[in-house]
């Protein structure tokens, strides 16, 4: 990208040439929250599966499809399988129709359905949220939230939270290397690792906290607290009527689906 193209990119609305990635961030958030909570509130495998399939259909049409399915697979193994094993162990030998036998003990159908409910609730909830987080830039979301009335201080806090995590991790690695150079063992047995926690963790936390003073002065120098409209480098397109309608429909569907799901499933 040439310098001129880079400059020009800020003169227009941010576009990624993908229908889901270009969907208005706030409308997308409302849509995903509605379906995520539908899966959580109803807590039945039928609803979880429907939300999971919807999320999969959306994700497959975005550039983030590979990351989506890898993360979902990892979360399934890390988050679901252990809980399912615990649930099956607790319910082994319970009365009721038998689904199968495990280590010589009967596993009832109710336990298997309970596990399916849990798996699809998690996968549905996780899936729909991942389609949001993998396709939305936080700065675009914050820009849109400011447009709908959120205070610049709040959006600043959200954005600096995400950038702060990356910078503090860098600082941690730097301090770890420094302490190692000073002769503190940071790798080895469990005892060695536990002993190295404080010499690594404390300098990072204390130096980051005391550094806040300088950053406060920098913020004051740039008139952060001044009254008036804040300017932004990036421009986000306002929500189209269709996007607003999709978000509203998702909310209605969530409320109606939650009531119907709790009553009939």
């Amino acid at each position: 990208m040439t310098d001129q193209e880079f400059i020009e990119s800020f003169r227009h609305y941010q576009k990624k040439n993908n229908w889901w990635c270009d969907f208005h961030p706030v409308a997308k958030l409302v849509f995903c929250l509605s379906f995520g909570f539908l899966s959580l509130i109803v807590f039945k495998w039928q609803v979880g599966l429907a939300v999971f399939l919807l999320a999969g259909l959306i994700a497959i049409r975005t550039p983030a499809r590979k990351t989506y399915f890898i993360t979902l697979g990892v979360m399934f193994v890390a988050g679901c399988l252990f809980t399912v094993a615990v649930r099956l162990y607790v319910h082994m030998g319970d009365p009721g129709p038998v689904a199968f036998y495990l280590f010589g003990k009967a596993v009832p159908v109710a336990a298997v359905i309970s596990c399916l409910d849990l798996i699809f609730m998690i996968e549905g909830f996780l899936g729909i949220f991942m389609t949001f987080f993998l396709t939305t830039e936080m700065r675009d979301l914050c820009c849109c939230l400011e447009q709908v009335g959120m205070s610049p201080s709040a959006t600043f806090m959200i954005l600096s939270t995400f950038s702060g995590i990356a910078s503090i991790k860098e600082k941690l690695n730097c301090v770890r290397e420094s302490q190692r150079a000073r002769g503190i063992e940071t790798e080895g047995s469990l005892v060695v690792k536990v002993k190295s926690i404080l010499p690594v963790l404390f300098p990072v936390i204390i130096s980051s906290m005391t550094g806040v003073e300088d950053r406060t002065l920098a913020m004051d120098a740039r008139a952060f607290s001044a009254k008036g409209k804040h300017t932004a480098l990036r421009r986000a397109a306002p929500a189209k009527p269709v996007e607003k309608m999709v978000a509203a429909l998702a909310v209605i569907l969530c409320i109606a689906g939650s009531i119907a799901g709790r009553m009939y499933l």
């Binding site: 649930r87 409910d117 849990l118 949220f129 995590i165 503090i168 980051s208 005391t210």
Partner: protein, 208 residues
């Protein structure tokens, strides 16, 4: 003068400390949990900001920490009220000058343990279909208690409470040590800084 209470604005230092505290929560979790497997440490930043900046910034840290966790594991959204409660409780305890002495700080462990353990156990129990969740507390304490005849809800809540008390005791000690390591001239500039340091300053002595 109007009878209405004037709305207090958050100062810039607090605004900068909030994102930092969220990052501290993430950092402490990565460092402590990967090493000890018992101490989570993901509320150190929330308790710290609650103690030195007050209940509202503490609650904001709780909300933001939960939102960051939600990206990794969206089911964690149900724990949002607990993170908020840690920040609020820390603010109120700080105002009673609890964080000045180590023994007073450690004595607050059951309160934090109750919020993070018993209440989180209850939320998990309700949100996850009234059954055990696959975590260490359930496997090592909850399920054995359940098999010993304790009702499922109490077995799970007791397990969570025990594990969380260990975590919160370590977090509170770390928060106390961090506060003691921070220079007084830094603490005194923060809204609740005067409640966590025993030194007294005149306003004229402070350089803002």
């Amino acid at each position: 003068m109007t009878g209405k209470k004037k709305k207090k604005k958050m100062d810039n230092m607090t605004k900068l400390l909030i994102p930092l505290a969220v990052a501290i929560n993430m950092l402490a979790y990565n460092v402590l949990y990967s090493t000890t497997m018992v101490i989570l440490g993901d509320s150190i930043g929330t308790i710290l900001v609650g103690a030195i900046c007050g209940p509202v910034p503490g609650a904001v840290v709780g909300v933001l920490s939960n939102l960051v966790n939600v990206i990794k594991n969206p089911v964690m959204i149900v724990m949002l009220p607990l993170n908020v409660a840690f920040g609020v409780v820390s603010g109120y305890l700080s105002k009673r000058k609890i964080f000045i002495r180590l023994w007073k700080t450690i004595l607050c462990t059951p309160l934090y343990g109750f919020i993070g353990g018993w209440l989180s156990g209850s939320i998990i129990f309700l949100a996850m279909g009234g059954d055990f969740w696959g975590n260490m507390a359930s496997v090592f304490v909850g399920i054995p208690l359940f098999h010993a005849g304790v009702p499922k809800y109490f077995a799970m809540a007791i397990g969570q409470l025990l594990f969380d008390c260990i975590d919160k005791a370590a977090c509170l000690v770390l928060v106390y040590l961090i506060i003691k390591s921070l220079p007084d001239r830094f603490l005194i500039k923060l809204p609740y800084g005067r409640y966590v340091t025993s030194k007294q300053y005149d306003e004229s002595e402070i350089e803002f």
